[in-house]
């Protein structure tokens, strides 16, 4: 072995600090890390995490992924074996130089051996480069395949399942686990492969020199095995604790820094400084515990090194004295053992990288293994854009019904407003019609076909659900829009933007529609983001639209502008609008009023006002403050 044979101080120190302090989550990748399980709020049901693959399933899945690359795998492995084996010729050649000197042969006798040494070096360099290339190609191809399947399944997951697991679960898997596994494949895997090969082949080479050298070297083994087990037993829970503490610190910093203007306004500076200090100090404490552990680990490995080295030297002494080996052979044996330090240390250190990567892999495979949502065997297509809800009751937790026997019908092209106080069940009904949850009892039909018969894929092409939750997809603005309609031309994109009054500001962006927006790009305001969502809706062009308070967060001035855009975006579609601004309700074809999970009233704005029921009361509360002598009919 001609790479670094002995770990210098800094190298070990760097290794040492790697495990405890660099194993923490990447800076922003894990904003909702394990330290901050999102707590259930509202009427959310109990948490059920997404599945995690068993160890056996993880192995099987990896084998499946490797199978198509069998030849690459075998080829890569073979080349690495050759590279390592060639490298192992170095020590005997050095031994031969010792023998030549011991036999006091002329200096010219050295030439061949030295040339061979140089040739070995070049051959080892070339074959190692080739082997590492092959192995990383194998690892990276498999990784790419895995992450593509993961994303496919993750995006295909029923929202219901994602919600049950908590929003953090999937995010952590995609940010934390995927990059953890990628890092392992990129850095740990080649290193581990090389180290293991070097260890096995070096031990083999020792045996070739003389089997007794192998026995001597193996004396170090019990100490090493014991050390590794001792370490893993302590390291795994400690690192888990560290991840939690790191997550908590990250969360606290985001909380405090992100909310700093609130902190200042309410004079909470002292309290927040203390919270940050406390979390930070607990991270320091845990990191130091990790450092102590790693350092004790190295101390034990030093003992193993010493035992083995002393044994090999003693064996050399005995064999040379018994004339069973030459001085050169004894030297080669000592050099072999000395060269084992680096691969043994790296292999042992890589154990915990490998462990956390395997844990991450199990979580990725858990999702990648999920079946794609089941489509019905004989799917029915909706005949028109009508919606019919009949006898629907729903409860998230049994015994806590949120909807009671709800019935309603939307004619094709009809615009219906859903009105009621917070917690009346409007959002739940919207989600049921969009096919996100399945109603506990009752039926929902789109164009005369029940949701089950239509199937999840077609439901989503038929019903669009736009909520106050928005997201700007990172990348050029045009790409964001094309998610809704992959083949849309620039002119179509422009037309959609124009319809929602967004074209002017989009064209005023630095690069127009090519401007990079979203995370790390140009920041859009809340109203702009929502306008973009409406443009996407126009491009996706679904026959039925459900808007769940889609304009709520835009602030009062922005909301009015957005309402106009909404009105144009849903033109020609069957629309159910969950609204708390009653002007939106007043302009609808029909209004459905809900109270405590029941439909209590339905009719046109005028009819309901005349009926003097709950809607009239709502309208009274709303318009009371708006009425003015000159304008007795506000909002209409």
């Amino acid at each position: 072995m001609t790479d670094r044979q002995h770990q210098p101080y800094g190298d070990e120190a760097a290794e040492g600090s790697r495990s405890p302090s660099r194993s923490d989550a990447p800076p922003t990748a894990d904003p909702v890390g394990e330290g901050s399980p999102t707590a259930p709020a509202g009427d959310e049901p109990e948490r059920t995490l997404l599945p995690i693959a068993t160890a056996a399933r993880t192995r099987a899945a990896v084998a499946e992924l490797l199978r198509p690359h069998r030849r690459l795998a075998i080829g890569g492995f073979a080349v690495m074996v050759i590279a390592t084996a060639v490298g192992l010729l170095t020590q005997p050649l050095l031994g031969r130089i010792v023998d030549i000197a011991a036999d006091q042969r002329p200096p010219s006798a050295l030439t061949t051996t030295v040339l061979l040494l140089a040739a070995v070096a070049v051959a080892q360099g070339l074959s190692t480069a080739a082997g590492l290339s092959l192995i990383s190609r194998l690892g990276e191809s498999v990784l790419a395949q895995l992450r593509e399947r993961f994303i496919e399944r993750a995006l295909g997951l029923p929202l219901e399942q994602v919600e049950r697991a908590g929003s953090g679960d999937l995010t952590v898997r995609v940010t934390g686990d995927v990059s953890l596994t990628a890092d392992a494949v990129r850095n740990a895997l080649p290193e581990l492969a090389r180290s293991l090969l070097a260890i096995v082949l070096t031990l083999g080479a020792l045996a070739v020199l003389d089997w007794r050298f192998l026995l001597a070297a193996l004396l170090a083994l019990p100490v090493q095995i014991h050390t590794a087990r001792w370490y893993v037993r302590r390291a795994v829970p400690l690192y888990a604790e560290q991840r939690v503490a790191n997550g908590a610190q990250q969360q606290q910093l985001l909380d405090t820094i992100g909310g700093s203007s609130t902190v200042r306004a309410f004079r909470l500076e002292k309290e927040h400084s203390e919270r940050v200090e406390e979390r930070s100090w607990s991270v320091v404490g845990l990191t130091m515990r990790g450092v102590h552990l790693v350092l004790r680990f190295y101390s034990r490995l030093h003992i193993a090194e010493f035992i083995g080295l002393a044994a090999v030297l003693a064996t050399g002494f005995l064999l040379v004295r018994a004339e069973a080996a030459s001085l050169g052979t004894a030297t080669a044996a000592a050099l072999y053992f000395h060269s084992l330090f680096t691969p043994v240390n790296s292999a042992l250190v890589l154990i915990d990288d490998a462990q956390s990567a395997i844990a991450g892999l199990a979580r990725i495979i858990g999702v990648a293994d999920l079946p794609l949502p089941k489509e019905p065997e004989r799917p029915l297509a909706p005949k028109d854009s009508s919606v019919a809800v009949a006898g629907v009751s729903h409860s998230y937790r049994s015994g806590h019904p949120v909807l009671h026997d709800v019935a309603m019908a939307l004619r094709p092209g009809e615009r219906v407003a859903l009105v009621g106080a917070s917690g009346a069940g409007k959002t739940t009904l919207a989600k049921l019609i969009a096919g996100i949850h399945r109603p506990t009892t009752g039926s929902i039909e789109l164009g005369g076909a029940s949701l089950e018969d239509i199937g999840p894929g077609a439901i989503r092409r038929t019903v669009a659900l736009i909520t106050q939750e928005t997201h700007v997809f990172a990348g050029p603005l045009a790409d964001d829009l094309r998610l809704a309609s992959a083949g849309a031309t620039d002119a179509e994109l422009r037309a959609a933007l124009d319809r929602v009054d967004a074209l002017s500001w989009v064209e005023a962006l630095p690069d127009g529609m090519a401007t990079v927006i979203g995370e790390g790009g140009h920041r859009l305001s809340g109203a702009q983001t929502q306008a973009l969502a409406l443009a996407r809706l126009i491009l996706a062009d679904p026959p039925v639209v459900i808007l769940d308070e889609a304009t709520a967060e835009a602030g009062s001035t922005g909301a009015r502008a957005l309402e106009k855009a909404v009105s144009r975006a849903i033109d020609g579609r069957t629309a159910l609008i969950v609204a708390h601004r009653l002007t939106q309700a007043a302009s609808a074809d029909r209004i459905v009023v809900m109270e405590a999970g029941r439909v209590v009233e339905t009719g046109t704005h005028d009819a309901l006002r005349a009926a003097d029921g709950p809607y009239a009361a709502l309208w009274e509360a709303w318009s009371d403050t708006r009425r003015s002598p000159n304008h007795p009919e506000p909002g209409s």
Binding site: D3, L94, A101, T113, A129, L309, S422, T557, H580, S628
Partner: protein
Amino acid sequence: MAGQRRDVVLGSLLGAGHQAGEALVPVVIGVVIDRGVAQGDATGLVLGIVALGVIYIGLSFSFRFGARAGERAAETAAHRLRTRLVGRLLAPEGQAMGGRLSGELTNIATQDAKRVGAVCMALIVGISALMGLLVSAVVLVRISALLGLVVLLGTPLLLWLGHLLSKPLERRSEAEQERAAHASGVAADLVTGLRVLKGIGAEPAAVARYRRTSGDSLTATLRAARAGAWQNGLVLALTGVFIALVALVGGRLATEGDISLGELVSAVGLALFLLGPLSEFSWVNAELAQGRASAARIAEVLATEGAVLSGTGTLPRPVRGRIQLRDVSHGSLQALDLEVAPGEIVGVVATEPADATALLGLLARRFDPDSGVVELDGVALSTLDPGDLRTAILVAEHDADLFEGTLLSNVFAAADSADSIARAMAASGADEVALTLPQGGGTAVTERGRSLSGGQRQRVALARALAVDAPVLVLHDPATAVDAVTEAKIAAGLRELRHGRTTVVVTTSPALLAMTDRVVLIEGGSTTSTAAHVELVRDHVTYRTAVLS
């Protein structure tokens, strides 16, 4: 950094001891081969092994305690920096964010602080490596001047050559790695927007896009990996050729009897060992460079000037609550005049959102006016300590964040008394929020309040502001995300709770404006009208459009 001097010195001393020990291991192996194995002398062997044992104990302990001291220094330094950074970010003078995103600042407080702390460790490693180099040099030159020269000149040359050859590869690999990282970024982004994707049935398009990104990323990664592999191979080959050279020189010296066989073995061992400390220098260099860059980023935040100067004036107590803005210009505001009498409840309608933002900033003293004066009870705000001022005027922002904890702990955060909490909860409608949550007021709030719905969050934030019992309360759009009935209830609750204490509500909500004593209309940066809501609705066209359309 200076605070860690003791640990750094201790670490350096012990680290130096460790490196000296590591350097001596190949030397002792040579001695054992010479004295013991070559001469068949058991005493020599045993003595050698004992010496090896002593060296091992020494190097092991100095490594353990040296590295411990170094890490302790690094972590403590990082912790101190983190605490100072947060202190600056929370300072009442403000503006420390300097337009940075909170994620970026969190990064500075964690990663950059850590890198600066790591400089402690880098110093120790550098000093230790120097010691290893020194011991090897002394031993080698004592064995043979020629051999010593070959090794001592050869190793740096070899490293330099390796560096030179791998530089283009490295540069390429870095660029490729950046592109490779893109795939994981896109994946995270798509998952974050999962609901939006599902809302319009765009999952297939998203999956197709991700496949393309992932494929591009794979190509880039493979190029990077190949570059890395060749760099690795290159260094291996160079090292091997160098060892052959040392063996040639050493072997010749040994065959000519100038050095012993053991010394030959030691020399070869030392040549291999030296590559370690020498390559450590480039690592130390890189760490120091990173540490410098991180330190610069931290220093920049720490040195950000406050948006306002801390004043020395004092507020007359008790605060009566007269607010007066005279001829104030700032941002979009132009010669604005505004007066609020003690105990008055005033609505402010700004046709331009920028005017509202500027007014709120001035009242919270996040900045001072360019010209004109803002006064509280006749004292100019710019003469007051901003922290002190905020105990008198509470500006509750529209997008105020909630913090980790429970619903109640959030309301409690700055509250005066348990009594005021109960009243604030009722007035803001937060009591109803608590009723609908599974654990009531004890329900955990996470993700800065994002675990609640918009309407729930708004009511809890309003309760927190009302619980403070501030002499002057300024509310910005406090009820935009609640339904009409709740909004009306909040308006009534506000009126009752704030009765007799100065309250400014910046909003365009008619429900809230209707309960105020009078409303001030700001158009184009200055006050154009002031009257009761009903009158303005009746007489003022602009007002009607702004509020009622």
